[in-house]
């Protein structure tokens, strides 16, 4: 064990107010920051969707121009995926993982703060594009060559590419952090096969992230080099093949959709056992299937390219590998049902959302299997049938599970329960709204309505279902409004929760709500799966680890720091400069930003470490 030569400085008085949030390196606070920020951004993405639904409610409308419409769907999807679902997932990783594994913080607390601020920087940069000359307009997968400067002058695409790079840095940093945290900081006795499912899925997701993001980083670098320096990666005149972009994007993009769904599956795998009062059915198989899904996610990317002319052999191979993913996914679904079977099911709001998730995800997954049949996908690709699939898996899947998780962990975060009656209303509005909005899109797609069209002709016969779909979006918005109201009200005046409102099974429920800064007064020792449940029902006591202090006054936590924030601000400035790197001002601004980041990274690494005694090194 490394002993430190320098004596630990006294734990400083806590900064208060805003400063406390700006300099915090406490995983719980960072989790809440992630959650609130991402939720606000999710709403902006939802508003972008509402604009589109208003425009499409009736044929031939002029509510938004085609130019703006193209920006809307691009920003809507980019926002939802990178600024909504991913950081909402990160909010749970941050808040829950250290609590579930019995740790006092993540492995690199300052890196964690840096991840959050960098995510915020990327979000600001992307959203700024609306006000600084136009948002990106080439769809969320930005196919070459329409993203090239020939076809897309202006800065929209630059903002898109640069902000995705910044967001990539944030995601990578967070993913490395969680890999190390989960591998290295589990409480004594918590072997891999005793880890809660959510922790497991976070681990798999983190691995997907660190392996998938470098690929899109390279793709975006190529795009940026083309745009900024006139290189030829995607220049048709020089003989470039636009399919290169598609391959690179989807090699990232398909693992990305599992990055969006695996945490959701993890959340649901916590909630269903808790509210059924039964252990997760077939735990090892559920873990394994998650790992297999993560692994197989790498073998299917070309199913997004069935119509680009890869040839029948490649199409067949990718069709078969894609179908195969239904098997491990099905295993998960069946085990969830197996958990509920013969259980004692309490239909509280988290459980309602969890069941809603399973139900909707089955629909989305099955339409996915329909797409995977390459030959018939030729009729579906780039139609609203795909849009329906997207929203059944992403809204019905990820968002429903995130809502479940929010209701589930809200009491742990705030110490108060969310209102149950509003919760039920919330669920039914969202569930109905989502189906009314997205189910008709299947019909529209099969009826020949292409996606990404700003308007359509009445003669095409798409009027009815578009109107229904738009009406559904309004119901959905009402549902989400209820979420907002419920959260805000409950945070202030909700019923007091106590440590363990749901009769929980995992370690986070063994400590007070909200947890003290140091989480666990004594690091627990784990004797099996569902450690806390075991402790409650079988009276297995958790004994403190030898060496860990039993007195909360002796717990040394890493100190707050400015440097992560400043490093991220540097990145924001630098990235902003990069967008305008064709001008001198841009170059200067970029250099200033870069210098700020470099300086703060140096300062950061020489800041007194103040490691907690337990070995949770914050370096």
């Amino acid at each position: 064990m490394t002993t430190l030569a320098i004596p630990l400085p006294k734990r400083p008085a806590h900064p208060t107010g805003v400063l406390a949030w700006l300099t915090t390196i406490d995983h719980k606070k960072i989790g809440i920051l992630y959650g609130v920020t991402a939720f606000v951004l999710f709403i902006t993405g939802g508003l972008e969707a509402l604009y589109m639904r208003f425009q499409l409610a009736q044929p031939g409308q002029d509510f938004v121009s085609p130019e703006v419409f193209n920006q809307l769907f691009t920003m809507h999807a980019t926002t939802m995926i990178f600024l909504g679902v991913m950081p909402l997932g990160a909010a749970f990783f941050n808040f829950v993982i250290p609590l579930q594994i019995g740790a006092r913080d993540v492995a690199f607390p300052r890196l964690n703060a840096f991840s959050y601020w960098t995510f915020l920087a990327g979000a600001i940069l992307l959203k700024l594009s609306w006000f600084l000359g136009g948002a990106p307009n080439a769809g969320w997968f930005g196919y070459a060559p329409i993203t090239g400067s020939d076809f897309n002058p202006g800065h929209g695409i630059d903002y898109w590419a640069v902000s995705l790079q910044v967001l990539g840095i944030a995601s990578l940093a967070a993913a490395f952090n969680f890999i190390v945290t989960i591998v290295n900081m589990r409480a004594p006795g918590m072997s891999l096969m005793r880890m809660p499912l959510f922790t497991w899925m976070t681990l798999v997701t983190s691995f997907l992230l660190v392996l998938a993001f470098p690929v899109i980083t390279v793709a975006l670098i190529e795009l940026m080099f083309d745009r900024f320096f006139g290189m030829n990666f995607f220049s048709i005149g020089a003989g470039a093949n636009p399919l290169l972009w598609q391959h690179l994007f989807w090699i990232f993009g398909h693992p990305e959709v599992y990055i969006l769904i695996l945490p959701a599956m993890g959340i649901v795998s916590e909630i269903i056992p808790t509210f059924s009062r039964k252990p997760l059915f077939g735990y090892p198989v559920v873990v394994l299937s998650g790992v297999i899904i993560g692994f197989m996610g790498w073998m299917v990317w070309s199913h997004h390219m069935f119509t680009v002319g890869l040839g029948p052999v490649a199409n067949s191979v990718f069709a078969l590998t894609t179908m195969a993913i239904a098997v491990p996914t099905g295993v998960k679904i069946f085990n969830w049902i197996g958990t509920m079977w013969n259980g004692s099911i309490d239909l509280r709001t988290p459980m309602l959302f969890a069941i809603g998730f399973v139900f909707l995800f089955i629909i989305g997954g099955l339409s996915g299997v329909m797409h995977s049949s390459a030959a018939s996908d030729a009729q579906q690709q780039d139609t609203y049938f795909i849009v329906a699939h997207i929203h059944y898996v992403l809204f019905g899947g990820s968002i429903m599970a995130i809502a479940a998780g929010a209701y589930y962990w809200f009491p742990k975060m705030t110490g108060r329960l969310m209102d149950e009656r509003m919760g039920k209303l919330n669920f039914w509005l969202v569930f109905m709204g989502m189906n009314i909005s997205f189910f008709p899109m299947h019909f529209l797609g099969l009826d020949g309505m292409p996606r990404r069209i700003h308007s359509y002709d009445s003669a095409m016969g798409w009027d009815l279902w578009n109107l229904v779909s738009s009406a559904g979006a309004v119901v959905l918005a009402a549902g989400i409004l209820v979420t907002i109201i419920n959260m805000v009200r409950s945070a202030k005046q909700g019923e007091k929760a106590g440590a363990d409102p749901w009769d929980g099974r995992t370690l986070e429920w063994s400590i007070p709500s909200p947890p003290p800064e140091y989480n666990f007064e004594q690091i627990p020792t784990v004797h099996g799966k569902d450690a806390f449940w075991m402790q409650k029902r079988q009276r297995v006591s958790t004994v403190p680890v030898a060496g860990a202090s039993g007195d909360s006054h002796d717990i040394h936590l890493p100190q707050p720091s400015y440097w992560p924030l400043i490093a991220s601000i540097g990145l924001l400035i630098g990235a902003y400069g990069l967008v305008y790197s064709a001008t001198w001002t841009g170059i200067i601004v970029g250099a200033v930003g870069l210098a700020t980041t470099v300086v703060s990274v140096y300062a950061w690494s020489f800041e007194p470490v103040n490691e907690p005694v337990e070995g949770a090194a914050g370096h």
């Binding site: 591998v183 072997s191 891999l192 096969m193 005793r194 691995f207 660190v210 392996l211 093949n241 399919l243 290169l244 391959h247 090699i251 790498w298 070309s302 890869l310 490649a314």
Partner: protein
């Protein structure tokens, strides 16, 4: 089973079989140089034709492996490290080759 996984890694990391000495490092360096020399040498034998591909692949894989095993001491370190690295490496390799196949590079 679960327990085993953990104790295994734990014991792996504490086993340090025959630590390399500077002499080992030097020998490795010499081997690397010799292989590089061979690579460059056979490069000038035009008659090898396509046969040069497997030869060079084997030779540079050997170099790669030696650096990773000795200089990055994967050989003496915890298996988990090898797992992390080789995982990324194998994935990159297989996806890279698939992409080339999809671009009809081998046709």
């Amino acid at each position: 089973m679960a327990e085993q996984i953990q104790t295994e890694t734990q014991s792996d990391s504490s086993v340090h079989t025959g630590h390399p000495t500077p002499l080992t490092y030097f020998k490795v360096a010499m081997t690397l140089s010799v292989i590089t020399a061979i690579e460059v040498g056979i490069f000038y034998i035009e008659d090898l034709g396509l046969g040069i591909i497997p030869i060079l692949v084997v030779l540079s894989t050997a170099k790669f492996a030696m650096v990773a095993m000795f200089y990055m001491h994967l050989r003496y370190d915890a298996k988990l490290f090898t797992g992390f690295f080789v995982g990324g490496l194998v994935l990159a390799l297989s996806i890279g080759l698939s992409v080339l196949a999809l671009f009809k590079f081998f046709a």
